[in-house]
């Protein structure tokens, strides 16, 4: 592989020298091999909902609007050239580009947008909640689409960037069993096909997906934008960070996306390899089930607070290394309205013991901690769980570790069957409204059976206001109240916001971390 890289570089240099002969370089297929810990159980945009699928969707599909490559603080056009919002905030009108064709060769029109969005909404898959505020989608003419909302949504544009709103070739999806009507949840049969094929307008096409083995993307010959440098992207599932590092050093892969902070010093000494470091928006947290039948003592608010006091956050930060930070709540540091690290929780073992005694557990209790065998942004959850186990042992809580295989455990988590769990959250869109999902009755809240019935009226009211408030001043205040509430109450104990580390062969250009889609393969080149 390293020889191949050298060969390619040589070819490029030669091509630069002898311009008329540069066609020669194009003869050799340019392959990018990516090492990545795969996390998805689907690649159907309407159903997939993991970092892996976001990364792949970014390569094979486009959305109406998007972020610039290197930041998420502003929204820029993609398939829509421009858009306008009605005064009541309930109608968004998008004017589509007229020069876009799908990888199938069919032109992209408003009907495709309508089909893709309605299918995403009606399938009621894991990401469909993003389309919750969308009442209907209407094709005004071939290149104009109107989205009608049931209520104002301050985060709509940010949501539309997520892969679930990928615009797909409607005819092709329908031909393979796709359905966008209200019965799509039962009738749609396109998932298997969409797991192996893509029908988007992105720079790449999904050639194959072998779950837990590899995903192969090839260049889309009909791409409307600038053609990407690489002809073929092979995303190898390499779950172990150590194997990713060795594969990179051996030149078998071009970029390793999941290396750990511990590996950075050794990699930085290697001249053939470069390292990118930043802070990820992921939050790793402990969850306590609010249903006493499932959570047992963990459903007790005093115990939940005691847990937050009992954790050795400084130790965890040292364990995480790199550019990791301690979040002050479930909203990542750096987000609009998020508390900064100086407002984060401090360890107080005495307070934790007092709270446990008050809750009726002066001698502690025994509990299982459920988590997937997985490495999140370089942090091995098993190691972190052992740290939590040791921390809670100091206040008398005996934690038994109960790791599970990722997909099995994901089922338990999503269905609210974990009493005490260790999980992580990656934002779907870069707006604090996304974190309303941790509140009662919302996606993540329901995973711990935190419902409208068993929650305080105070947090329910804050939740409802956060969902519709469009004014930034008022939003700041609401989110400050929510974070304060979650520090003292509620089933979450945020532990750490990990750093993000990529390591890649020196000479690879365009390596940029984006919190939405991890990395954009179309920007990479040698």
């Amino acid at each position: 592989m390293r020889n191949y890289v050298r060969f390619t570089i040589m070819l490029i240099l030669l091509a630069g020298l002898i311009v008329p002969m540069s066609g020669m370089a194009a003869q050799e297929e340019r392959v990018l091999v990516v090492g990545h810990a795969e996390s998805t159980d689907s690649l159907d945009p309407a159903r997939a909902f993991t970092p892996t699928s976001s990364m792949i969707h970014q390569a094979v599909y486009d959305t109406l609007v998007t972020f610039p490559p290197d930041s998420v603080d502003r929204i820029v056009p993609e398939l829509a050239e421009s858009w306008e919002v009605s005064d009541d905030g309930l109608t968004y009108t998008f004017y589509l580009r007229q020069d876009v064709v799908f990888s199938t060769g069919n032109p992209m029109t408003a009907d495709d947008v309508v089909f893709s969005f309605m299918r995403a909404k009606n399938i009621t898959g894991n990401p469909s909640f993003l389309a919750e505020t969308i009442e209907s989608v209407e094709a005004i003419d071939d290149y104009t689409v109107a989205i009608h909302l049931s209520e104002p949504d301050p985060a709509l544009l940010a949501k539309l960037i997520f892969g679930v709103f990928s615009v797909m070739d409607a005819d092709e999806v329908i031909a393979h069993g796709g359905v966008d009507n209200e019965d799509a949840a039962e009738e749609d049969a396109a998932e298997d096909w969409l797991n192996q094929n893509s029908v988007g307008t992105g720079p790449y096409i999904l050639e194959s997906w072998d779950p837990q083995v590899e995903t192969v993307l090839v260049r889309n010959p009909n791409y409307w934008g600038d053609p990407p440098y690489f002809d073929r992207i092979i995303i190898r599932n390499i779950p172990e960070a150590a194997t990713q590092k060795i594969s990179l050093e051996a030149g078998e892969i071009d970029i390793a996306l999941d290396i750990t902070a511990d590996q950075v010093p050794a990699l930085e000494e290697n001249e053939a390899i470069e390292v990118f470091q930043g802070t990820s928006p992921a939050i790793i947290f402990l969850l306590c089930n609010q249903d006493e039948e499932i959570g047992g003592p963990m459903s007790n608010p005093l115990v939940q607070l005691a847990i937050r006091y009992a954790i050795d956050y400084d130790g965890i930060l040292e364990l995480a290394g790199g550019a990791a930070v301690q979040p002050a709540s479930v909203i990542p540091v750096g987000f609009f309205g998020a508390f900064d690290t100086d407002q984060a929780f401090d360890r107080d073992l005495d307070r934790a013991r007092e709270l446990l005694a008050e809750a009726g557990y002066p001698d502690g209790f025994e509990v299982d901690l459920q988590y997937p065998e997985f490495t999140v942004r370089g942090i091995d959850l098993s190691t972190l769980a052992q740290k939590v186990q040791a921390d809670l042992a100091e206040v008398g809580i005996t934690v038994n570790l109960a790791p599970g295989e990722i997909l099995t455990e994901l089922e338990n988590y999503r269905n609210g069957r974990e009493g005490f769990g260790l999980w992580w959250w990656e934002p779907d869109y870069q707006d604090p409204v996304d974190y309303v999902e941790f509140l009662p009755g919302r996606t993540v809240g329901l995973r711990v059976n935190w419902t409208d019935e068993n929650a305080d009226p105070e947090i329910l009211e804050l939740r409802d206001r956060a969902l519709v408030e469009m004014d930034d001043e008022a939003r700041l205040e609401i989110f400050a109240d929510i974070q304060e509430y979650l520090q003292q109450n509620g089933p979450w104990a945020p532990l750490v916001q990990p750093g993000v580390q990529f390591a890649y062969q020196a000479g690879l250009q365009g390596v940029v971390f984006n919190t939405q889609w991890i990395i954009d393969f179309a920007l990479l080149s040698y």
């Binding site: 039962e186 837990q212 051996a250 078998e252 099995t408």
Partner: protein, 339 residues
């Protein structure tokens, strides 16, 4: 007794065994707490009463356990092993696509084990009580004592991570395309397709896992060869051959070896059956897409249709190799033939 009668009798004896195997795998899969429907269908399909109903009917879950078992047998006879929860494909398809990788690896390993083991065993017996004998006995005892997963890590650390002499996990480098599928064995397929580079790459990838997997077998075969050889060398006809003034090499190769190898064949046959299943640890570490790794993944994700499928397949192979070994034994040993 003519050979074919013997084989027929053995085959007939296999029938109760096979029934027993299906029964045990059925019992394991059913001993699990929890709803098999929920485990097999997943959340989405569970919400659809029609799908649930169809599944119950297909596997007879609304009937008593005995009927369920019969339904299962019936499905089995029709080649229906159910659908893997994890891969969402029919288990039969999964097994078909994972078996060649394991077959290739374990065949490679048995060849290593056979060649090294027999060579070690013979030389150790012939030069009994010399330094060589001592070294060989030490190696064979170390071979059966090394935890394969540990050996795998150490070899990977030395030859892959540090020296870069041999490739790491997987059947091919990530940049090398698999050869067109005829047999599913990459070495054979690449040769058939005339792809030399791919062949060499596949071969290189076989070396580390092959040796790791062969470590136990080599030790075992060396031990058996040695003791069997010693026994034969002490026997009357070998002494007779020697006294006739035959060259020592002729004595060993012609007279002793043929007889000494009879028990060795048995061990090789049994080891081969074991290798297929012993590949679990090796395949897991070397990310080898074979049935051992498949079985491991199936176990940890409680994917019972897959576990049952793998168990059945390997048991079948095991029973079949046993049969072949016994037949060979029958052919090789004249005493058994007349007896």
């Amino acid at each position: 007794m003519p050979l074919y009668v013997y084989i027929l009798r053995r085959l007939a004896l296999m029938i109760p065994l096979l029934i027993g195997i299906t029964l045990v795998s059925f019992l394991i899969a059913n001993a699990i707490p929890g709803d098999p429907v929920a485990a097999n269908l997943g959340q989405r399909a569970m919400s659809d009463p029609e799908i649930v109903e169809a599944f119950r009917r297909e596997w007879g879950l609304d009937k008593p356990v005995v009927i369920q078992y019969i339904t299962y047998l019936n499905n089995l006879l029709h080649g229906n092993l159910g659908r893997s929860i994890k891969s969402r494909r029919p288990v039969m398809d999964d097994l078909k696509s994972f078996l060649p990788a394991t077959f290739e690896l374990s065949t490679f390993a048995i060849v290593i084990g056979m060649v090294l083991g027999v060579a070690f065993g013979i030389s150790s017996a012939v030069w009994r009580n010399t330094v060589l004998d001592f070294v060989v006995r030490l190696i064979s005892i170390l071979g059966v004592s090394t935890p394969v997963f540990w050996l795998a890590l150490i070899l990977l650390f030395i030859f892959y991570s540090r020296l870069h002499w041999l490739p790491g996990p997987g059947r091919l480098d990530v940049t090398v395309m698999p050869p067109p599928t005829f047999t599913g064995l990459y070495t054979l397929d690449s040769l058939l397709a005339g792809q030399w580079g791919t062949f060499l790459n596949a071969l290189k990838h076989l070396i580390l896992p092959g040796f790791v997997l062969a470590s136990y077998t080599t030790g075992l075969i060396a031990r058996v060869t040695r003791s069997s050889m010693l026994e034969v060398l002490g026997q009357e006809y070998v002494r007779t051959a020697r006294s006739k003034g035959l060259h020592e090499r002729v004595v060993i190769m012609r007279h002793a070896l043929a007889n000494a190898l009879i028990p060795v064949v048995t061990v090789i046959g049994l080891s081969y059956g074991n290798l297929l299943s012993g590949a679990v640890l090796t395949e897991t570490i070397f990310a080898w897409p074979g049935i051992g790794r498949y079985a491991f993944r199936a176990s940890v994700s409680l994917d019972f249709p897959a576990i049952m499928g793998v168990s059945l397949l390997i048991s079948l192979i095991f029973v079949a190799t046993n049969l072949v070994v016994d037949v060979l034994y029958h052919l090789l040993d004249p005493r058994l033939r007349t007896g």
